[in-house]
Amino acid sequence: MTTSSTPHPPRIRSAPSPRSRGEGRDEGHSRRFYAQLAFTVLVCAFLVVPVVLSVLAGLSQNFFVGVKSGLTLRWVGQVWSLYSGTIFLSLALALECLAATLVLGVPIAYVLARRPGRMARLFEELLVLPVAVPGLATALALILLYGGWRGFRASSLFILVGHVVFTLPFMVRSVLAVMAAMDLVTLEEAAASLGAGFFKRFFGVIVPNARYGILAGALMVVTLSVGEFNITWMLHTPLTKTIPVGLADAYASLRLEIGSAYTIVFFVMIVPLLVAMQWLSRERAPALAGRK
């Protein structure tokens, strides 16, 4: 087995494909297969090892000594006493952001799906701009325009508007992808011919049919809101700290074990969301594949 310190392109050509599995198995896995496997495992280790280390650090008495110093929940307890406020604020913001993007995003996605064309394309392009420019620019812009409005600047509402403009395009695109694949006109005509008014059609036919897009968008919005740092760091005040803001704080000023324990808290919040997203994309892979 060769290690691939300098990955040479020819290795990309892979070992037996599933289709030619029969021939491939006769000769066994080639050297190239193992070299690529080793390389891929190495890449995976680069991503996973630090996560494992930080979990261990957050649970051990003294990370410098190692796990043999004993496992403890002491650091997690300290995180709770120092930063529980950030956890509640992040959760509240994520839910408020979700509510806002649902109320704003689902109707606009429906309009864009019903009236496709140049105007719709243009509006979609505009809507995605807060994702395309760095969060720092969005945050500076909000501060320069609304920073003088003290009550607003000091409240968590200020962070919320930053999160809403940043996450809205994800909700709109996710819902729009599903709605564009639906035959909205036929569905609505059928419902209308049975005497359903607009609101009955919207909530009884359109929304249920677009549920996977809405659910995927919702998971994305909550995940992004909980993890958002670039905008939030500029918009927060000492009284409105979210988890990523608290993390930056803890990394800069507290011992490694506390930073690690705090990171564990973040992982615990984010993992169920990621698992749900993976499950959803497996469940409805074709419907969410996106518009081409």
Binding site: I12, R13, S14, A15, P16, S17, Q36, L37, T40, V43, C44, F46, L47, V48, P50, V51, L53, A57, A100, V103, L104, P107, I108, V111, R115, L127, V131, A132, V133, P134, G135, L136, A137, T138, L140, A141, L142, L144, L145, Y146, V161, V165, R173, F198, T223, G227, F229, N230, W233, P244, L247, A248, Y251, A252, G259, F266, I270, L273, L274, Q278
Partner: protein, 277 residues
């Protein structure tokens, strides 16, 4: 009769679109317009927008950010190209777990990624401990440009691997087999068949990777606030020197650069583009 029904429907659609339009205009378009005008209102006037090339400090910052981002992009494309191709074309025990593990870091904010680099290459990090045990000297590079490179690689690799896997899945394998049966070496198949087929995906993934690296703030903020990359320069101008006009102008120029890179990505791939780190 028909026309009035149509008019009513148009009114209804307009009403449905209105809330999102108002929020977007009030909390993004108007603030951005303000940012543009503040950028031109400093002592330099509209020339502030050129400061990024005329001022030696800002230009150095631009050059180091662009160099770092291009380096990260190229390294990511090679690493993720090999791993993505391998994962899509081969089955082995644990493959599904490896693929899910790869998607996990996608949701990490920049600060957490910075911390991951500290875990790996910081003062108490793994690499330092191992090199200390082996060679008696600690290798610590988390707080330098090499640490930034590692961090940007960390958030770019998962994204690009997933894109590569999706693109490899769509390749027509008959073309490769045809080339092989005509006597092409593996290297020729790669160069003349596989890479051209993957080109749109690689360019698009590369552009996303570049744009994300250009604008990444959290990772640099955690690792070193004295490294001269553009987001840190903007942050320092704004917070430490209260130099609002320069901060506004620089952040707009940076925004135009990342937007342009992503626009290239989208025309080539037509996919949703997320630059969250």
């Amino acid at each position: 009769m028909m026309r009035s029904a149509g008019a009513r429907e148009n009114l209804l659609l307009a009403l449905l679109a209105l809330p999102a339009m108002i929020v977007f205009a009030a909390f993004w378009l108007l603030p951005m317009a303000r940012l543009v005008s503040v950028g031109a209102s400093g002592p330099r006037g509209p020339a502030a927008y050129l400061a990024i090339v005329t001022d030696a400090n800002y230009f150095a910052s631009l050059v180091s950010t662009v160099t770092l981002s291009i380096g990260v992009t190229l390294a990511t494309l090679v690493v993720a190209g090999i791993a993505g191709m391998f994962l899509q074309r081969n089955d082995f025990p644990g493959r599904a777990i490896v693929v899910s593990l790869l998607t996990f870091p996608l949701a990490f904010p920049g600060v957490v990624i910075g911390f991951m680099v500290i875990m790996l290459a910081g003062r108490q990090g793994l690499i330092g401990t191992v090199t200390d045990a082996l060679f008696g000297s600690k290798l610590v590079f988390a707080y330098s440009i090499a640490g930034l490179f590692a961090g940007y690689l960390y958030f770019s690799i998962p994204r690009v691997i997933l894109t590569v896997m999706a693109a490899v899945e769509k390749l027509d394998r008959a073309l490769e087999e045809a080339a092989r049966s005509l006597g092409a070496t593996p290297w020729q198949v790669l160069r003349d068949v596989v890479l051209p087929g993957l080109r749109p995906a690689l360019i698009s993934a590369g552009a996303i990777c570049f744009a994300t690296s250009m604008g990444a703030f959290g990772t640099a903020f955690t690792l070193a606030t004295n490294i001269n990359v553009l987001p840190i320069t903007i942050y320092t101008e704004f917070t430490n020197y209260a130099n609002f006009s320069i901060a506004a102008a620089l952040s707009l120029v940076l925004g135009v650069i990342t937007w342009a890179a992503l626009a290239v990505a989208r025309t080539l791939a037509g996919s949703t583009v997320a630059a969250a780190a």
